[in-house]
Amino acid sequence: MSVSYAPTEDLELIRTTARQFLEDRIGLETVRELMMSEEGLDRGLWKEIADLGWTGLAIGEEHGGAGYGLTELSVLLEEMGRLVTPGPFFASAVLATAAIDTAGDDVQKASLLPRLASGEIIATLAVFEEPRGWDLPSLATTATADGTGWVLDGAKPFVLAGQQADVIIVAAGFDDGIGMFVVPADAPGLDVTETPVLDPTRRQADILLNGVRVDGSALLGGGESTISLRKTLGIGTACLAAEQVGGSQRCLEMSVEYAKTRYQFGRPIGSFQSIKHRCADMLMKTEHAKSTAYHAVRVVDDDDEFAIAAPLAGSVCSEAYNWIAGETIQVHGGIGFTWEHDAHLYLKRAKASSLLLGDARYQRQLLGQAIGL
């Protein structure tokens, strides 16, 4: 299979536009303000992002999007990763959008995707119930048929952007397996509680469902959708990998810059091999991470290859970013351990993102299954 990695004009344009907007409008000072704010989100900025077309980048033109694919979307994620951009973009524009796009029927897509593309609504996906329950063992959240609709009961303690979302797509067990149900955030019986998190740039909520009633039309695709859910999580993994690449690259740049300008023993510390070689290792790991992430987003339409490429990227990029973010603190020494320095923003993002959809070990299990080991 032939895959091209050379950046096209469109990709370059998306990258330069995104970098400029993020640096001008959501620099690290803004990140810190949002990180410590109550909602963790600036609705005005969200509107600006939507007006730039980011929330609809990978949504089809027939649904009000730009009609691009995962490769283009991942460039945005990579650029946001560079600046640990806060907010529900990953939950809404990646996870929830992919869930609707892969599992929804035409009516559901026509009703939801245009509102996601325009930024009118924010959505999220509520799946996991156990701390290490990434392989979706039988879900304790259930959907019970009730007339023409469904009644949902259960708990989802780790829902990304749960309190920011207007719509929550809930994965629940029912007769035929797992179904994904579109639940409005104000549905009676739905209890959403914001949870303090390791990485406050990406919020989570604890969600309880007590007899939440939804219409029959709330079930995405009208039935069982385990395969679509797994594909959605694979797309999430690939996009998260791109975000991890952006963070890794920024950490490498911060470390190199500091190593050139910080003097000890009368020399820039970057002239000592212990520091220089650490930076060279960061470079190597970043490049390897890029290769796997760029590959994954380019093969998303080839199910067999994507089954290999997504967990490959997930495991390689998670390990790379965790290591690089940790070493970035070490290269910076004491200043790197302060609240004032930005290194901790990256460390927290790195660790949390490596756990969201399955840690590197879990991704390697998926990879092993895909390659027959």
């Binding site: 091209s4 990695y5 050379a6 190199v256 190593a259 050139k260 020399r267 820039p268 970057g270 002239s271 000592f272 091999q273 520091i275 220089k276 070689h277 930076c279 060279a280 290792d281 470079l283 190597m284 490049e287 390897h288 991470a289 890029k290 290769s291 796997t292 760029y294 590959h295 490959l312 495991s315 390689v316 070990r361 390697r364 299990q365 990879l367 092993g368 390659i371 080991l373």
Partner: protein, 394 residues
């Protein structure tokens, strides 16, 4: 390559095949004809094995010869000459030198070796000690080289020597081509940790080299050495292996046959597989970007990554074998190897220990990445301006 270049190359290849059918012509004769038609190193100037085209046109020619049942085996059996020596001669040699050496090099009649490293000069190549002193129209050479591939079968050796001990180390070097059959040269097998002698030590005792075999001017040996090493990198880089092949395939094979149900071993295997695949995709990406004219750091990290992976994979393979990994079927034979086969995991484990040393240690590769790619400052160099004779050695 442009369409016109393609047509031109194909026309010449057709002419070669018409006059010397690849399947029925003796390789030596075929290679001679290939050289004479300018298809040996197609980017060389006409008359020296080339047509003045681009280096990128060569793979197409090689592919056509192989497809027609001809041999390109000379490129491997005389690798150091064809991949590196030829580049040195065209960049720094005189027309007489090119005339004398290029054709028999390409026809494989004269094998070449490269003598750079010394017991006292490894990573710090420019600090080497082998002495060459002028004597009339000749130079008299004394000293020792080490880790020389193919020395025992070579006719010619590329040699870098110290001609001015009073100058700082980079400035006092001179490059020669030496006749390996000359009096005073003693080639001894250098047995490595596998017990085999893939390499040689070469001792020089009052060896006389005619001045006409000097490459470029006296004192420019460092520059010529850099050309040699640059050609080495071009020769090594550029090919991407298939997914899951090579050493990781062997590890997978051994793991499957072991029937192991140990989840830790399995995770380690998949972990290695993933790292290999990441390195492989990085090579593929580097190749594509390089051919699109976007050179990046991806190429430089390949050697570093593969050295480390080869060592980890072959060590892991013995772990999977358990007590079988303690055996060494066939035992250690102190011999010259007849092939470079390392399909036996125990031998592969031993041989790959050198991957992070040979052709530039991993430490030196990381310095290159740190300084040339990331722009980090170099180490203070205590020997840079000092006359070579005053630099401490040991």
């Amino acid at each position: 390559m442009t369409d016109t270049d393609y047509r031109r190359v194909d026309d010449v290849v057709d002419e070669l095949f018409a006059r010397h059918p690849p399947q029925s012509t003796e390789p030596e004769e075929f290679w001679g004809a290939q050289y004479d038609l300018g298809l040996a190193w197609v980017w060389h100037e006409e008359g020296f094995g080339g047509l003045g085209l681009s280096r990128k046109d060569q793979p197409h020619i090689n592919w056509r010869i192989e497809e027609a049942g001809g041999s390109t085996e000379n490129r491997l059996s005389n690798l150091l000459g064809i991949a590196m020596g030829a580049g040195v001669l065209t960049t720094h040699g005189t027309d007489a030198q090119k005339q004398r050496w290029l054709r028999p090099m390409f026809t494989n009649q004269e094998i070449w070796c490269q003598m750079f490293s010394e017991p006292g000069a490894g990573s710090d190549l420019a600090g080497l000690s082998m002495r060459a002193e002028p004597d009339g129209d000749e130079w008299v050479v004394n000293g020792q080289k080490v880790w020389t591939t193919l020395a025992h079968v070579s006719k010619w050796g590329m040699l870098v020597t110290r001609t001015d001990p009073e100058s700082p180390k980079h400035r006092g070097l001179t490059y020669f081509v030496v006749d390996m059959e000359a009096n005073g040269i003693d080639v001894r097998p250098l047995y490595q940790i596998t017990g085999e002698a893939e390499f040689s030590e070469v001792f020089f005792n009052d060896v006389r080299i005619p001045d006409e075999n000097r490459i470029d001017s006296v004192g420019s040996g460092w520059r010529v050495s850099l050309t040699t090493l640059m050609n080495e990198r071009v020769a090594i880089g550029g090919n991407t292996v298939p997914r899951g092949s090579g050493r990781i395939a062997k590890a997978v094979d051994v793991w499957k046959r072991s029937g192991s149900a140990d989840p830790l071993l399995r995770d380690e295997l998949i972990h290695l597989w993933a790292e290999v695949e990441a390195a492989r995709l990085t090579s593929a990406r580097a190749n594509e970007l390089a051919s699109a004219g976007v050179p990046g750091p991806e190429g430089s990290i390949g050697k570093l990554a593969w050295a480390d992976l080869n060592k980890k994979i072959t060590s892991f393979t013995l772990d999977v074998m358990g007590l079988e990994g303690t055996l060494y079927p066939g035992g250690y034979q102190l011999t010259r190897p007849t092939s470079f086969d390392t399909s036996m995991p125990q031998k592969a484990f031993l041989r790959t220990r050198a991957n992070s040393i040979e052709g530039g240690t991993s430490e030196i590769m990381m310095n290159i990445l740190g300084e040339r790619v990331l722009g980090l400052p170099g180490e203070p160099r205590v020997d840079k301006e000092l006359p070579w004779k005053d630099v401490p050695r040991g």
